[in-house]
């Protein structure tokens, strides 16, 4: 498995921002939006066939024309103050039939991403993902952060709407970040990179719905823009959020009445802090029942 480069730019200590799909596709949406806004150029890609099952065959006039795989691409942008390296994975490598990457394949891909970071002189890596939270979809998503080193935490706390994971109400000091958005930060630490994972809040009752959750991506992008010192246009996310309103309303309509009432209660109180642990357990249990019963297929 190799990395094929289509360009070899000179970059000055770029920051690398990485996204793979996950809950609400929060990370990958964030990075892709940033890629479009800064008009990043393609740098190269990881050869896919050893990681993925193909997703499309094209046959023309009886002859195999092409076989397409999920892409894992690098992009770059030279900015006035800071250069950027971006990585977008269309899928997490599917090891042993699990939803999120783990084990040897995931570790290998994480190392390949970091090989590119190292090659271009990058020392700091950002990943992003979902923070499943006891919040309501009408509320602004907060951004939880974790880092590879204690000294990075005070910097992260200084950004508007950013919180340390341990500061979030009701959370213990211990947690985990599933899949490559988490694993990459671990491997980055092992290899001596600075690493930060920014997680946008998604309401617990939407965490198993197969839709993107752009509100969280928007919040993560705001924090990233502040970190990078760039200005970003939120119009695309605003439009997506408007479009998602109807879909979310549809999902909620299919929930049993008691779940809907408890969800709506969060909105009226508008303060996540007042949600009790019993509420959390009750909703988790009943949402699981709802999806296991096939209700999720109707969404």
């Amino acid at each position: 498995m190799g990395i094929v480069f289509c360009s070899e730019p000179e970059l000055h200590q770029p920051a690398m921002i990485v996204g793979w799909p996950g809950i609400g596709n929060i990370g990958v949406l964030t990075v892709d939006n940033l890629r479009q806004q800064v008009e990043a150029e393609e740098l190269g890609e990881i050869e896919p066939w050893d990681y993925f099952y193909p997703n499309k065959v094209i046959i023309r006039d009886g002859v195999l024309h092409d076989l397409e795989f999920p892409t894992s691409k690098f992009y770059y942008k030279k900015l006035a103050d800071r250069d950027l390296l971006l990585f977008i994975g269309e899928e997490q490598p599917s090891g042993r039939g699990r939803m999120y990457a783990e084990g040897g394949k995931a570790y290998e891909m994480a190392n390949q991403v970091l090989d590119v970071a190292e090659k271009f002189g990058c020392r700091r890596i950002y990943t992003s993902g979902a923070a499943v939270a006891l919040t309501h979809h009408s509320l602004r998503s907060r951004v939880w952060s974790v880092a590879t080193e204690r000294r990075l935490l005070s910097e992260m706390k200084s950004y508007t709407n950013a919180f340390l994971m341990s500061e979030v109400e009701g959370r213990q000091n211990i947690g985990n970040i599933t899949g490559l958005n988490g694993l990459l930060i671990g491997v980055a630490k092992k290899r001596g990179f600075e690493g930060v994972c920014l997680m946008g809040e998604i309401p617990d009752y939407l965490s198993r719905v197969p839709f993107p959750y752009p509100k969280a991506s928007q919040s993560v992008l705001e924090v990233l823009a502040a970190i990078l010192g760039i200005s970003v246009d939120m119009t695309a996310f605003d439009d997506m959020i408007d479009q998602m309103e109807d879909l979310i309303a549809n999902v909620l309509r299919q929930f049993p009445r008691e779940i809907r009432e408890r969800v709506e209660q969060r909105k009226q109180e508008a303060q996540p802090e007042v949600i009790t642990e019993e509420d959390e357990e009750w909703i988790k249990e009943h949402i699981d029942d709802f999806f296991q019963g096939g209700g999720g297929d109707k969404a």
Partner: protein, 281 residues
């Protein structure tokens, strides 16, 4: 060679053709065709791929009291200079698995061509003339196959949300190595998928026998196909509703709601019962 490949014999092969069949395509067509070739041509297993990296191995599957365990074996038929590969489709590490097959094909067997056998579910009637399709890895092989009863002009793109077949992945991997290869696709009427379709594998074997000069006597399959058609005629005579549904398919009409399911169930049940009776008698 790779430790994931285990040789039990080293048959002498000149420049063979390889036929590939998987155990889980519709109607188990590839499995039946490769089984037929191994039986009729006296194929001997000589090599297998170890399962540990490619299958869950978290227990075994039992179907009708019989234990099923993943198998991935190469058989040699030296007299016909033919290699047959029969396998359970891998659950993961697909590219590595396909590469191992191609390592054996290329480095040990020095194959000249590879054909995979697969089926596709068709909405047509079993009485309609069967069309056999080929997807080739190169225009050169397409040209070479022009003298056979094979439709070679297919255009296809995987629809959104779908995934290519393992045979397409295999064809791509073989093409990357420059091995002339083709996928053979045979439509199976949807209501015969759970039962049997001797006419479909007769068609594949007819092509292979002709192309590879195997000299197969397919009379047995002609009889099986004829017998099956008679059985379906019996169902049609006994059940006017089934006759009417098949009649619609024969005239190219759309089926009404639930008609397809009813046809598949009734015909499938009948053929399986008839098969059990004849095998127990």
């Amino acid at each position: 060679m790779d430790e994931k490949i285990h040789f039990s014999a080293r048959p002498e092969l000149r420049n063979p053709t390889m036929i590939v069949g998987w155990s889980m395509d519709a109607g188990r067509l590839g499995w039946r065709v490769t089984d037929y070739l191994v039986r009729k041509l006296g194929g001997q297993a000589f090599c297998e791929i170890e399962p540990a990296d490619f299958f869950p191995l978290n227990g075994v599957t039992i179907i009708n009291d019989i234990v099923f365990f993943p198998e991935s074996r190469f058989y040699a038929c030296p007299e016909k200079d033919l290699v047959v590969f029969r396998s359970t489709p891998p659950s993961y590490e697909w590219y590595q698995f396909l590469s191992l097959i191609l390592d054996v094909a290329q480095d040990y067997c020095h194959v000249r061509e590879i054909y995979t056998v697969g089926s596709m579910i068709a909405m047509g009637a079993h009485t309609a003339p069967r069309q056999f399709f080929g997807t080739m890895g190169s225009p050169e092989l397409k040209m070479e196959l022009s003298g056979y009863n094979l439709t070679r002009e297919m255009d296809f793109e995987t629809p959104p949300g779908g995934r290519p077949t393992l045979n397409s992945f295999f064809l791509w991997a073989a093409k990357r190595r420059g091995i002339p290869s083709a996928n053979l696709w045979i439509p199976i009427p949807f209501y015969l998928v759970s039962a049997d379709d001797p006419e479909a594998y007769r068609g594949v074997l007819d092509f292979l026998s002709d192309r590879l000069r195997l000299g197969l006597d397919l009379t047995e399959l002609d009889e099986q196909a004829g017998l099956q058609n008679e059985k379906i005629d019996q169902i049609r005579a006994a059940h006017p509703e089934i006759d009417s549904i098949i009649g619609k398919l024969e005239r190219g009409l759309r089926l009404g709601e639930g008609e397809g399911e009813k046809l598949a169930k009734e015909v499938g049940d009948f053929l399986r019962e008839a098969g059990n009776e004849s095998s127990s008698g």
